[in-house]
Amino acid sequence: MAEQQVHMRLWRGNANGGEFRDYRIAVGEGMVVLDVVHAIQAAQANDLAVRWNCKAGKCGSCSAEVNGKPRLMCMTRMNTFQPGETITIAPMRTFPIIRDLVTDVSFNFQKAKEIPAFKPKPKEADGTRRMFQEDIDRVQEFHKCIECFLCQNVCHVIRDHADNKPAFAGPRFFVRLASLEMHPLDSNDRMKLIQQKAGLGYCNITKCCTEVCPEHIHITDNAIIPLKERVVDRYYDPMARLFGLFSAKSK
C-alpha cells in the first residue's frame, strides 16, 4: 500500500461547545487511528488534546468513537476502512467533554471508591493461601479489564440518561463486583450494594458492553447475569429467605 491521503474529521472544542474539523494527512502503511491523530497533532494541530499511554492495547487510555463505534484508537487499523472513506473521531459521549477527544471520566473513579474492599479469609493452617487454577479462571477473566471505560460509554442506562449515573455503577463495576464476589479468598458481603446502590436492576442485558470490550470479557454472561442470579437467590427466593432466618450470613 503506497502512502495515501486520508480525510479525518476530528471533534475540536470543550465543555462550552465545539465542532468537527477537517484534516487531510498522508497515511503510511500499517498505521492505526492513533498514529494518524498523532501525525495531525505534530504537523497541523499541536494543541489537539488526546489521551494515550501504551499504544499497545494494554492501558485503555485512548478510547473514542471512531465512525460512531466505541474503539481503542491504538487498536484500530487504518486499512480496516474503505479507501477514500472519511474517518470521523468523536470523544466518548457518556462522559463530559474536557477538550477535543479527552473526556472527564472521574465518574468511574468515584464508583470505584464506593465498592467495599477485598477482605481475605484467614490463611490455611500452614500459613499459605491455596487456590486452584480451575477455581480462579473465571475471576482472572474479569481481571483482564484494562479500564478503557468503553463498556460504560456504550451502556444506554447512562449514555442516554445521565440522571441515572448516581444510581448505577455500570458494566465495568459489575465486572469488578463479580470479581470480588467470586474471588475464592474474599469474605466481604456486597449483595446489598449490588442490588441497591450499584443499580444492577437497571441492566436489561442488551450486551452492548460485551460487544465493545477490547479484552473480549463476557461481561453480560459471566459477570452481570450471575450477579443478577445471586441477587434473586438472596432477596427473592422464598426458600433462601426462610433459611436466611436460621443461618449465618454466607456469600
Binding site: R130, I136, Q140
Partner: protein
C-alpha cells in the same frame, strides 16, 4: 499571560508517579501515619507498569524448592556484570517473596501450581523458574491490585497532574511545583519529603518500548535540586522489538520466540548469528545450523547462537543492518513460521500471535517477523542509599526505574516488578519516618516558585517559532543514531553538540492554543527533562571507556578492570554537569563467596 496564582496543598509526603513503585510507596507512607498524596501524570492505573508482561522475580521456591535469596542475589549480580550495589541486590532478593505474597493478601490472583500455590516461570539469567505471573499480563494485575488497595486506604490521588520542579529550603526538600494537565492551572505542594517514582527516560530514543510518560522527569527534577545521578550510561536495548509498521515500532517481541525455535535471518536469508559468536562463548555455542537445530531437541548439542546474551544479539542485528543486509524497514527477520507448525506457535506464543496479527497484519505461523533492537530500560538514575532509598538531597527518596544501583550494568527480566515492590515500600517507609522525625520549619521560597511559573509560561510568550514535536523528533533521531546500542566517542561528542543546539532551539519553542489540556505545551515543557536525561546519559557514556552490560563502545570493545569497581556519578552545578568516578561499596566476604559458588 502573567499568571502566578496557584493552589496550595500541604502533606508530610508526596509521591510522584503512580506505577508499581509509587503506588507501593504511597500505601506504605500512608500506613505509617504520614499524610500522603500520590501525584501522577496520567489517569490512575495507566502507568508504564501496566505494560509489564513476564512476571515478578521472587525466590519463593514454589516450583524449585532449592531456590532461595542467595541464588537470586547471585543471578542479579552476575546479570548486572557485578556493578550492582550489593546491598540493594541483597535486600531485593530477600524481600521480594514477601512483597509478592502481600499482593495476594490484597486480592491479586497469580497463576497457580498443581498444589494451589503461586506458579513461577523461567526467564533469562535466572537459575530457577522464579517469576510469579498472570499469563502475560502480570503488570496489569499488579497495578490494579495496588491501585484498588490505595483507593480503599483513602490516599489522596492527584491525577493528570504534572510536577516539574522540586522546591528546597536550605538544601532540604520543602515542596514541589507543577500544573494540572486538564486546566493548565498551577499547583504547589508543601511537604517534608518527596518520593520520586517516575520511571525512566526511554522516550528520548526513537525506537523504544516506552510510553509518552518516559521523559526523564524524576532524574531531571532530582538533578535540578542538586541530587547525584549514577550509572546513566547503562540503557538496556532489547534485541527484538517490532520495527514495522510504524504504529508498533519498538514494541517488544519476547525472547521466547527464539527459545521455542525461532531464528534470526538477514535479508539474504542467512542465519547471521553464526558470524557473531564471541570468543568468550565459543566453547558453548553451536557452530553449524545442524548442531544449533539439534540443540532444541537434545541438550547434548551446543546452544544456538540465536540465544546468545541480549547485548551480543542486539549488536549483531545492528551490524547486519549497517552492512546493508537489513529488511526494507531496517530490521532483520525473526522466523518461526518455517520451523514450527502453526498449532505449536499459537499454543506457545499466543500474545505474539495476536500482537502481530492485529497490529502488523502478519501471521507469524506463515511469515517471518521483522525485528530490531528497542530502547527498553534505564539501569541508571538517582543515586540512593541502599536501605532507605534516600537520595543525596535531604528529604528526597527514589524507587523503581528512576533509582540507580540494583541492576548494575544490566537488568534481568522479572527484576523490575520486584524492584518496584521492594524499594517502593522502603521509599514510603523511610520517607514517612523522615517526615515524622523532622524538626524545625520549612518554607517554600517565592523566588523559586516565580522562576518556575515563568518557565512554565515561557512557551506561550515565546517570540520564536519552533515546533516542540519537531525538536522531540530531532532529539530521538540524535539519541537513536549517536547514543544507541553501539557507541563511539566521536558520535557521542557529536550527540552532545546536537543536544546543545536543541537546548538553544527549545528556548524558541512556540505553542499554540491555550493552557487547557494542551499536549503541545506539555511536550514543550517535557523537552527540558528529555534533554537533561539525554545529556547525562551521553556524558556518562563518554566517561566509561569500556564495554559492559547495557553500554557498548565500538572504540573500547572489551571490559576494562579499571572500570570494574567504579560508578560514574553525574552532578549538576550552576546549570553545568560534572562527572566523577566513585568506588563501588565493598561487598562483605560472605556475599562474595555466593558469587564464586558454581551452584
Amino acid at each position: 499571560m502573567a499568571q502566578e496564582k496557584y493552589e496550595t496543598h500541604e502533606y508530610d509526603v508526596i509521591v510522584i508517579g503512580a506505577g508499581g513503585a509509587g503506588l507501593r510507596a504511597a500505601v506504605e507512607a500512608s500506613a505509617q501515619g504520614a499524610k500522603t498524596a500520590l501525584v501522577c501524570k496520567s489517569l490512575l492505573g495507566k502507568a508504564h507498569t501496566v505494560m509489564a508482561e513476564g512476571g515478578i522475580a521472587a525466590a519463593m521456591g514454589n516450583v524449585y524448592p532449592e531456590d532461595n535469596w542467595k541464588v537470586h542475589f547471585r543471578d542479579t549480580m552476575r546479570g548486572g556484570k557485578l556493578l550492582n550495589n550489593w546491598r540493594m541486590a541483597q535486600i531485593h532478593a530477600q524481600e521480594a517473596p514477601d512483597r509478592v505474597l502481600e499482593l495476594e493478601e490484597w486480592g491479586a490472583l497469580f497463576d497457580r501450581t498443581k498444589e494451589g500455590l503461586i506458579l513461577q516461570r523461567d526467564f533469562g539469567g535466572h537459575r530457577y523458574a522464579r517469576l510469579a505471573h498472570v499469563g502475560d499480563r502480570t503488570g496489569l494485575e499488579m497495578i490494579r491490585t495496588l491501585q484498588q488497595h490505595a483507593v480503599h486506604k483513602g490516599i489522596d490521588v492527584y491525577m493528570e497532574c504534572n510536577l516539574q520542579r522540586l522546591l528546597t529550603d536550605g538544601g532540604k526538600i520543602a515542596g514541589a511545583f507543577g500544573y494540572w494537565r486538564e486546566s493548565g492551572k498551577f499547583i504547589l505542594f508543601k511537604c517534608k519529603a518527596v518520593v520520586l517514582a517516575t520511571g525512566g527516560g526511554g522516550k528520548a530514543w526513537k525506537v523504544t518500548s516506552n510510553s509518552w510518560e518516559y521523559t526523564g522527569d524524576g532524574v531531571t527534577m532530582a538533578a535540578d535540586a542538586g541530587a547525584d545521578l549514577m550509572d546513566m550510561e547503562f540503557m538496556q536495548f532489547h534485541p527484538t522489538g517490532m520495527v514495522w509498521p510504524p504504529s508498533v515500532r519498538g514494541i517488544l517481541v519476547t525472547e521466547g520466540v527464539r527459545g521455542d525455535g525461532g531464528t534470526l535471518k538477514n535479508a539474504k536469508g542467512e542465519r547471521f548469528m553464526f558470524n557473531y559468536i564471541p570468543e568468550f562463548f565459543k566453547a558453548e555455542t553451536a557452530e553449524t545450523e545442524k548442531e544449533a537445530d539439534a540443540w532444541y531437541e537434545d541438550k547434548q548439542n551446543r546452544r544456538t547462537p540465536d540465544l546468545l546474551p541480549r547485548d551480543e544479539v542486539a549488536r549483531a542485528i545492528n551490524s547486519e543492518v549497517k552492512a546493508g543486509r537489513g529488511t526494507p524497514h531496517g530490521g532483520v527477520f525473526l522466523d518461526i513460521a518455517s520451523r514450527r507448525d502453526a498449532d505449536y506457535i499459537k499454543r506457545r506464543l499466543p500474545s505474539m500471535y495476536h500482537q502481530f496479527k492485529e497490529l502488523a497484519d502478519v501471521d507469524i505461523t506463515k511469515d517471518a517477523m521483522e525485528v530490531g533492537p528497542t530502547c527498553h530500560y534505564a539501569m541508571g538514575g538517582v543515586r540512593v542509599d541502599a536501605d532507605t532509598t534516600a537520595a543525596t538531597v535531604p528529604g528526597l527518596f527514589a524507587a523503581g526505574e528512576v533509582a540507580a544501583g540494583l541492576h548494575g550494568a544490566n537488568r534481568l527480566g522479572g527484576n523490575s516488578l520486584s524492584d518496584l515492590l521492594v524499594f517502593g515500600r522502603r521509599a514510603g517507609l523511610y520517607a514517612a519516618e523522615y517526615a515524622k522525625a523532622f524538626q524545625g520549619s520549612l518554607s517554600v521560597n517565592s523566588d523559586q516558585i516565580s522562576a518556575c511559573a515563568r518557565a512554565l509560561l515561557a512557551p506561550f510568550e515565546s517570540k520564536g517559532s519552533e515546533n516542540p514535536y519537531t525538536i522531540h523528533a530531532d532529539l530521538q533521531e540524535c539519541m537513536q543514531n549517536l547514543v544507541g546500542i553501539i557507541r563511539v566517542e566521536s558520535e557521542l561528542k557529536q550527540a552532545l553538540e546536537t543536544i546543545e543546539r536543541l537546548k538553544e532551539r527549545t528556548k524558541n519553542v512556540k505553542v499554540e492554543g491555550n493552557m487547557q489540556y494542551n499536549p503541545g505545551w506539555h511536550l514543550a515543557l517535557d523537552l527540558h527533562s528529555l534533554l537533561t536525561f539525554s545529556e547525562a546519559a551521553t556524558l556518562a557514556a563518554i566517561e566509561r571507556k569500556e564495554s559492559r552490560g547495557g553500554h557498548t563502545r565500538d572504540d573500547y570493545p572489551n571490559t576494562d578492570a579499571r572500570f570494574a569497581k567504579v560508578n560514574i556519578v553525574v552532578r549538576q552545578k550552576n546549570g553545568a554537569m560534572t562527572l566523577s568516578q566513585e568506588p563501588l561499596p565493598e561487598m562483605p566476604d560472605e556475599l562474595k563467596s555466593l558469587l564464586e559458588e558454581k551452584k
